[in-house]
Symmetry: C2
């Protein structure tokens, strides 16, 4: 018998059985009324999730496609834009901007740290012509939550500067009220807190952003947001949508609405607190002092290579989580608790981590981490 | 009890139950060895399907994303390219080219007709600097198969002109041997003959095309084929792939390989011949004299509005097929038999069409069409 499989990565995340089976139903044709009716409901529910009055557009792509669109639909060739780069996804903003002839003003942030709003304020002073600030709400490579609300406050009164927020692994995990905070572009994806397979990307834009879009001159076709907005207003898409994923999304959104946003965020917070309590009790240190509720990043004990730890967890215990990338390679591991998790999933993950660390010769008192997690869950129940 | 549902559209096409259930399995992480192993096999099997030695790249997008990439990865701003425009998808090539500052030389072809190779030859003479010929193997809006082999013969010896073939609704339905015919770029998608939900696009390029890619200067990021080629050579993708669809694709390809290409093409041909026999027996005319094996396009009897026919078929009989677009709107209907169909599916569709036409007051001898289809199937068995 093969190992039972446990997935705790920051995307894709586990798909609930009932959602997986909903998507296995006979396929709908995207030009038929049954699809249009479903899509109309999905569009309404996405506004609820994004906490916005704006249309939320649905794309068939990974989140990176939405990141690209958040550049090409708003900027002009030769523009400048500020990029918060404190990890792999922050770095990606710079690469996309360069690919389209936009000059990135990179705010290098130490991995594991959140950007200081003052850093952004200073960059905006030095570059008053910067057309946008690009930032991650949750930087998956480091587990950091950046101060989105504070950054929005800096650009809110600037008519020609947008705040663009990649919430691909954040939306649905913690509170990101688009309109209330004044975000100009907010992005997300299906394979994170929305508990679906990869395949859908989401994007909403403010009035200010749509106004800037009118003068944008960067080339785009598949990710032409203006044309998609016009078409999706008719509950249709310009190009064949991922109908099966949209069927799953309709189910997921119905489910999340039953719980409500507050309960959903609280669920993620409880996972996060328990994971932190567990690894701390095991004597390990957190990688960041600004943790995202989507995942917990942990510095491994001295002498433990996390690439090897990940391998032991996977091959010996069936638990898939990820280690560190680039400068954090071998040094950290990341426990994602994004989407369809309950307290027993977290306890299982901690149990497996304790076992694997002990196998690798680390000093571990078996049960100490899981006990701390359980106490945390009891306290926050 | 709701109507049973029958889907006969040129994409999405029905997903076989066993494939739908394979995709409902617990989700894989795309950076884990289990995915890499699966993807390595998929990449091999796609070469077999494309009949090429080249790498077949897998993208998370609809087919249009691959069409865009087939422009942005090979051309330069200000280039000229010949476009065969005899339908909605041919028209799309021109729109993509313009969006990226490439000048389309449009060969307007009457809807329902295939382009004459002589037309392409003449355009190549008049525009020897044209960098590519863009064409559909099967133009879904008209049901026309264009002469891909003959067009390839025209560009084969021109070192600076590519033939780019959109086989999104053709690959797997009829023979399109990429290397043998000398195609430079060949595209396909998941939701057609590959019997999967929408979400995957495929693309392969010849040595000549990859060489031209070196001097291309159009901007691209998500659809950067060169970077994808490098990454996919390691059985990985740059951005999160549609893991669940790739699991389904692995199953589909295994299945198709069991049958072999010849049998698969023959299966589509039999559906096509039977559908044509049926509608002809009912006194209707085919819309094209160069029919694609992917779908049969039919001119409705005098006085029958096909938009209404489609509605009657759907609402009264549970059969979803599509009518005509633009200039063919109301005039034609399209019976797709692409992917997971057997002879009884075709007979059901014909039966429903007979019933719906009779309901609408057309002169129909019930059973005449389905009898002709059955005879055709018996003859080609």
């Amino acid at each position: 018998m093969a190992l039972k499989s446990y997935l705790l990565t920051p995307g894709p995340t586990p798909v609930p059985e009932r959602i997986a089976l909903a998507m296995a139903q006979p396929i709908l044709h995207h030009r038929a009324p049954a699809f249009e009716k479903l899509f109309a409901q999905v569009r309404e529910d996405l506004k609820w999730l994004f906490q916005t009055k704006q249309d939320v557009l649905v794309f068939l792509s990974s989140g990176t496609g939405a990141m690209e669109g958040a550049v090409t639909n708003f900027l002009r060739r030769g523009d400048k834009a500020i990029v918060v780069n404190g990890g792999k996804f922050g770095e990606r903003w710079g690469k996309i901007l360069k690919a389209y002839g936009v000059e990135p003003i990179e705010l290098k942030v130490e991995w594991g740290r959140a950007v200081e709003p003052a850093q952004v304020a200073k960059a905006l002073e030095q570059h008053p012509d910067a057309k946008a600030v690009y930032v991650q709400a949750s930087e998956s490579s480091t587990g950091v939550a950046h101060p989105v609300k504070e950054i929005c406050a800096l650009t809110r009164d600037r008519p020609n500067t947008l705040t663009v927020v990649d919430a691909i692994s954040a939306l649905g995990a913690f509170d990101l009220p688009m309109d209330a905070w004044g975000m100009d572009v907010l992005l997300s994806g299906s394979q994170k807190a929305l508990m679906l397979p990869p395949g859908l990307a989401f994007a909403a834009a403010s009035e200010k952003a749509w106004k800037m879009a009118e003068t944008s001159d960067l080339p785009r076709f598949y990710f032409n947001w203006k044309k998609e907005r016009e078409m999706q207003a008719k509950n249709q898409t310009n190009y064949t949508p991922a109908v099966s994923l949209i069927v799953g999304l309709a189910e997921v959104l119905r489910w999340l609405k039953e719980d409500g946003l507050e309960k959903t965020f609280r669920r993620h917070e409880r996972m996060s607190l328990a994971a932190r309590a567990a690894v701390t009790a095991l004597g390990m240190k957190l990688y960041t002092d600004s943790p995202s509720m989507a995942l917990t990043t942990v510095i491994a004990p001295e002498g433990i290579d996390t690439d090897k730890l990940v391998k032991v967890l996977r091959d010996r215990y069936g638990v898939t989580l990820v280690g560190g990338q680039d400068q954090a390679k071998g040094k950290i591991f990341r426990i994602a608790h994004l989407g369809y998790f309950d307290e027993f999933d977290i306890c299982t993950a901690i149990t497996a981590i304790e076992r694997a660390l002990a196998d690798m010769g680390a000093k571990v008192e078996l049960g100490k981490g899981v006990g701390a997690a359980m106490r945390s869950f009891a306290e926050t129940a």
